[in-house]
């Protein structure tokens, strides 16, 4: 059996952990919404400021899940936590900024270019936590709970003991982030299956 033990949502205006709001966006503030969360939650990882929005979203959600799920990292070996992420628009947000750098700002920006791949967020989370496990990033036409349930179970049956799953919809102000942790060697009330993933996501079934 495996269970969804912790989860985090970030929408355009609210950030919540296990369904409880932890940050609300101040639309009047000059700082970006993700930076507001970072500061309000008193996270300390200066590299956050260099990340693109996709990586910031994944970083914030994974840090808030770790904070809520005490002792998470100590329970597993460094290669036993896999990551399975997906979204619909790949790294489009940063791709647009990179194109802008060479079309309008004189030269292609290397610091933007390195973020023009959707799997970079997995690398960033791996670096923060020293996680050496399996990683996968899929680009899907819409949120697909069945994909996460199927491949999540595959990861759990091929060596992983926990899977950090995530849907990272981040395109401009269109923010639909849902990250959840699945653990196999624990007890819980939320079975990891397609129905519960869909229900917890809060996304409308298409």
């Amino acid at each position: 059996m495996s269970f969804i033990t912790t989860y985090c949502h970030i929408s355009a205006d609210q950030c919540s952990v296990n369904g409880k709001a932890v940050s609300a966006r101040d639309r009047a503030a000059s700082e970006s919404w993700f930076k507001q969360i970072y500061k309000e939650q008193e996270l300390v990882y200066p590299k956050f400021y260099k990340m693109d929005s996709l990586s910031q979203a994944g970083f914030l959600a994974s840090e808030l899940i770790k904070r809520e799920n005490k002792g998470l990292t100590g329970r597993y070996k460094d290669d036993e936590i896999a990551m399975l992420f997906a979204n619909q628009s790949s790294s489009a947000d940063t791709d647009l900024r990179f194109i802008n750098s060479y079309e309008h700002n004189g030269a292609p920006s290397p610091s933007l270019f390195v973020y023009t791949l959707p799997n970079i967020v997995l690398g960033e989370i791996a670096i923060v936590n020293k996680w050496y496990g399996e990683n996968m990033f899929a680009v899907l036409p819409k949120f697909a709970p069945g994909f996460f349930a199927d491949y999540g179970q595959i990861l759990l049956s091929t060596g992983a003991k926990a899977v950090l799953c995530g849907w990272l919809g981040v395109l401009g102000d269109n923010i639909e982030v849902f990250v959840w942790l699945v653990e196999s060697e624990t007890n819980g009330s939320l079975n990891f299956n397609q129905e519960n993933v869909l229900k917890l996501s809060g996304f409308n079934p298409a």
Binding site: A126, N135, L140, Y151, G159
Partner: protein, 360 residues
């Protein structure tokens, strides 16, 4: 057991697998000097399909690859509800729709070939192709699907060329993997495909055993390879262990070998730590360039062709050892019947992946 076969390669060396094999076995390269290809109009060496003039190039290539695949398998497989198509790519049809670089091409593929299941796009930088073949194997072993068609495809665009130029990662000559004078990658474009199945009988031209592999993150640095080769070492170690294969059973390594100074050095350290320095090894980037998300599939397909034809391809561009751990890099083609081939890949985001193919 999981089987792999029906391999397809489309590249500047040819639109069919046979044309590609004829070229690479004669050590011809798809790399040419392309005028005004770089930022500021510089000329660049690229492995570019110069006669690919279709409006939707990505869609054209994946469609051609699927057509070529379908001629090599039981005709019912393509439209079976037990079949999934997995696409590995970094940028898809980026030039056409930056917000949705895969949507239109995939929808066209589904419609044209009457695919039952929604294809899955895997986008994990340069390990996408190897990861996709491993995912195919995992889906089949978990009995979620019975057959998977893996198509890897990426195009050369201003976007990727300018990006790699901005990192000073592009070679000023055709790339020379593992060579002492290597100084960067040569970008490539192309498309590869393989079919993975639990049923040997679907393959019209024979197949190989696929020993499902693993991936591991370096947890080190975003664009730079690990100095200790940690992720690649871990991936290779686990792939060998879970398949109960000893290092001395590996007859050939189809390495990633991008020809950047740091990547090839990292691979040499990882292979040394894995006890694989004596195994004959080549990088195929000198033939196809670095085709990013397609590389793992094209190079696995080429490895299968080596097994079919009894020829190990030399590592084109290699002359003199240029890594701190000396590898057995092939400087000539070798007539051999390899039983077991290890394929590896490493990429941005710290990803590393490996798989094993074995003759039946």
């Amino acid at each position: 057991m999981t089987y792999i076969g029906a391999e397809v390669i489309i590249s500047p060396l040819g639109r069919t697998t046979a044309e590609n094999w004829a070229a690479v076995s004669a050590n011809q390269s798809g790399i040419s000097l392309v005028k005004h290809a770089g930022f500021d109009n510089s000329d660049l060496y690229l492995s570019k399909i110069l006669d690919l003039v279709d409006d939707y190039k990505f869609e054209k290539l994946i469609s051609d690859a699927l057509t070529a695949v379908s001629a090599q398998i039981d005709p019912g497989i393509l439209i079976s509800q037990r079949t999934v198509v997995i696409i590995s790519s970094t940028k898809g049809e980026l030039d056409k729709d930056i917000n949705d670089p895969f949507g239109k091409s995939i929808a066209a593929l589904v419609s044209k070939f009457s695919l039952v299941n929604q294809p899955i796009v895997l986008s994990n930088a340069c390990i996408s192709g190897v990861l996709a073949i491993n995912a195919a194997s995992n889906f089949i072993q978990a009995k979620i699907y019975d057959h998977a068609i893996v198509i890897g495809c990426d195009l050369i665009s201003d976007f990727v060329v300018y990006g790699f130029q901005s990192l000073f990662a592009i070679s000023d000559k055709p790339c020379a993997p593992f060579d002492a004078s290597r100084n960067g990658i040569t970008m490539g474009e192309g498309c590869g495909a393989v079919v993975v199945s639990g049923t040997k009988e679907i393959f019209l031209n024979g197949s190989f055993q696929l020993l499902s592999g693993t991936s591991a993150n370096d947890a080190n640095h975003i664009p730079g390879p690990s100095r200790t080769g940690e992720g690649l070492f871990r991936s290779v170690k686990r792939t060998l262990e879970i398949n109960d294969v000893a290092p001395d059973e590996i007859d050939f390594i189809c390495a990633h070998g991008t020809a950047t100074v740091f990547n090839d050095e990292m691979e040499s350290i990882a292979f040394d730590r894995s006890g694989l320095t004596n195994v004959p090894l080549s990088s195929l980037k000198g033939y196809f360039g670095h085709t990013l998300g397609a590389a793992g599939v094209i190079e696995t397909a080429a490895s299968m062709q080596m097994m079919r034809h009894g020829t190990l391809l030399k590592s084109l561009g290699y002359q003199e050892s240029g890594t701190s751990k000396e590898l057995n890099v092939l400087s000539e083609n070798v007539a051999a019947q390899p039983k077991t081939i290890l394929k590896t890949a490493s990429g941005f985001g710290g990803g590393n992946a490996s798989l094993i193919i074995r003759s039946l």
